[in-house]
């Protein structure tokens, strides 16, 4: 269905095709492509660049499966027009652990069974990496008792709240939480 949707997205016409050339920075490489302005970053990655690790779930910002990192910040590539991210450093799941060595978050997901079918996993992992960076930058959350205070702990309650933009329909949430908590603890320990 996702394939069909993206083909419809590409071919539904309303005005004449007006593809433009854009340059994207994906996983450290410069990629030039011709796209219409209506192409989302998600479709640019999957349909134009063959980077199918990033998944299309709902295509409307509700599920988080399409999460990638832009300049290190987690975003939803389905609600992003590719044009808007010209020049930004985009990291997808393919860009993590580039030398065949898993990123610590990836390794923790494997170790803690942080998935079942795996469809939401690339988004969960990119989201977790962005989330930990936000936490380390001092970002409070909706469950933080005092947003004006600086010190806080990445409790399970905090992890659940901060990861609420990523759905897992298999229900592997317990393993996902374990993976994030353990990866964060070992990162802090180092």
């Amino acid at each position: 269905m996702a394939e069909v949707n993206s083909v419809i997205d590409r071919w539904e016409t309303g005005s004449p095709s007006s593809a433009v050339e854009i340059v994207l920075q994906i996983n450290g490489a410069t990629r030039t492509l011709r796209i219409e302005p209506r192409v989302s970053l998600l479709d640019a990655l999957r349909e134009y660049l063959g980077l199918t690790g990033t998944k299309k779930g709902c295509n409307q910002g509700a599920c988080g499966a399409c999460t990638v990192l832009a300049g290190g910040e987690r975003i939803l590539s389905c609600l992003a027009l590719a044009m808007q991210y010209e020049g930004a450093q985009i990291t997808t799941i393919e860009g993590l652990g580039p030398d065949g060595v898993l990123d610590p978050i990836q390794a923790a997901f494997v170790e803690q069974d942080g998935f079942q079918c795996g469809y939401c996993t690339p988004g969960q992992i990119c989201s977790a990496i962005g989330m930990i960076r936000e936490f380390q930058d001092g970002m409070p959350s909706a469950v933080t008792p005092d947003v004006s205070a600086d010190a806080r702990e990445l409790s399970d309650e905090e992890i659940k709240e901060r990861m609420s933009g990523n759905l897992c329909r298999c229900g592997a949430y317990v393993g996902i939480c374990d993976a994030i908590r353990k990866a964060f603890k070992s990162e802090v320990a180092q």
């Binding site: 302005p37 409307q60 939803l76 962005g130």
Partner: protein, 334 residues
């Protein structure tokens, strides 16, 4: 999604010129609402002017004003506002309200100006098989008499009962934020509580911003007792859901008497609902539960339900009382 022409504005001046030059053009901020509505073919602009990269001034676009208030440039992302030390310390209700909205990913994309410009909407607005006066003016409203659990209880009309979904704007309403805009006719400042509109007979017109005007910044006026402020959101699941009811409040009391209070509600109206009636009953009264209950009754006296959302009237009252009680105990009752 219909195709469109894309251009990127480097300055406010060029953005204002670009939108005046093209027919059926819209500004594009983070895109988290507009792109979604375009994909559903509900919004069908012929041109987008990308304003998400407009320069954000010094200090990351958030800076202290000479009078002690804060200025937030329109392109600053929601997450950057929520994590700003000045905002967290002086206006915790604003930081909290943002953190209760959407998801981490969306807060990283959405801009301050875009949050104000997101559509007031309901599921009938999205469902093109339904009648909706907002989507197709004059067609009718299927939410009235339909499934209206999420809908308005205050200020609605026979034409539309949708609610404004922003959490951030509820806090801005309580804080009396000023929206700075610029258009072909020059600059002007719009108080947040005059920015959004009630539906009346024209629910398709949601703000008092002209189509060729651009939001450039939001100013938060000085409000010392905003340090004792908070946001509470009641929703159907623990996170990442629109408000059934939300409350933004700030409270100051001296010798047990209320000397300053701000109260605004979300999830109850077509716009962020500033609870002036409730505030008026509280000023000078004792900072206790009876006062808060009387204030909640005063604000909700004109409320009406549409069937599935009748529960919101009682829920709003209880949430108001609960938040004000917490604020009285937290330091408002010195």
């Amino acid at each position: 999604m219909k195709n469109f022409a894309y251009s990127r504005a480097e300055t406010v001046e060029s953005a204002v010129i670009l939108i005046a030059r093209q027919a059926n053009a819209k500004f594009l901020g983070g895109g988290t609402n507009l792109v979604d509505l375009m994909r559903e073919n509900i919004e069908r602009p012929d041109a987008l002017i990308d304003i998400s990269r407009l320069p954000s001034g010094s200090s990351g676009g958030i800076r202290e004003l000479p009078d002690g208030g804060i200025s937030i440039d329109a392109a600053v992302r929601n997450s950057a506002v929520a994590n700003n030390p000045l905002v967290r310390e002086r206006y915790p209700v604003l930081s909290q309200s943002i953190l209760f909205g959407a998801s981490g990913q969306i807060r990283n994309m959405a801009t301050t100006g875009g949050n104000l410009m997101q559509r007031t909407r309901c599921y009938y607005f999205y469902d093109k098989a339904s009648r909706c006066n907002k989507r197709t003016p004059g067609s009718g409203c299927d939410a009235i008499g339909g499934f209206n659990r999420m809908h308005a209880i205050l200020g609605a009309s026979e034409h539309c009962i949708a609610t404004h979904p922003s959490d951030m704007c509820v806090a801005l309403s309580a804080l009396d934020a000023i929206v700075h805009v610029e258009g072909p006719g020059g600059k002007r400042a719009i108080p947040i509580n005059n920015f959004h509109r009630l539906p009346g007979a024209t629910p398709q017109v949601e703000t008092n911003l002209a189509p060729d005007e651009l939001i450039t910044a939001i100013h938060l006026p000085t409000l010392a007792f905003a340090r004792n402020s908070r946001y509470r959101k009641i929703r159907d699941r623990a996170s990442y859901a629109f408000a059934l009811v939300s409350v933004a409040a700030a409270l100051e009391a001296k010798d047990g008497t209320i000397s300053g209070v701000r109260l605004a509600l979300g999830g109850v109206a077509h716009k962020p609902w500033r609870a002036y009636n409730a505030e008026n009953t509280m000023l000078g009264a004792k900072a206790d539960r009876q006062t808060f209950e009387r204030a909640a009754e005063a604000e909700l006296s004109d409320a009406r339900g549409y069937g599935h959302n009748d529960f919101k009237m009682e829920l709003a009252k209880r949430t108001i009382v609960s938040v004000l009680n917490d604020l009285a105990q937290a330091g408002g009752a010195r």
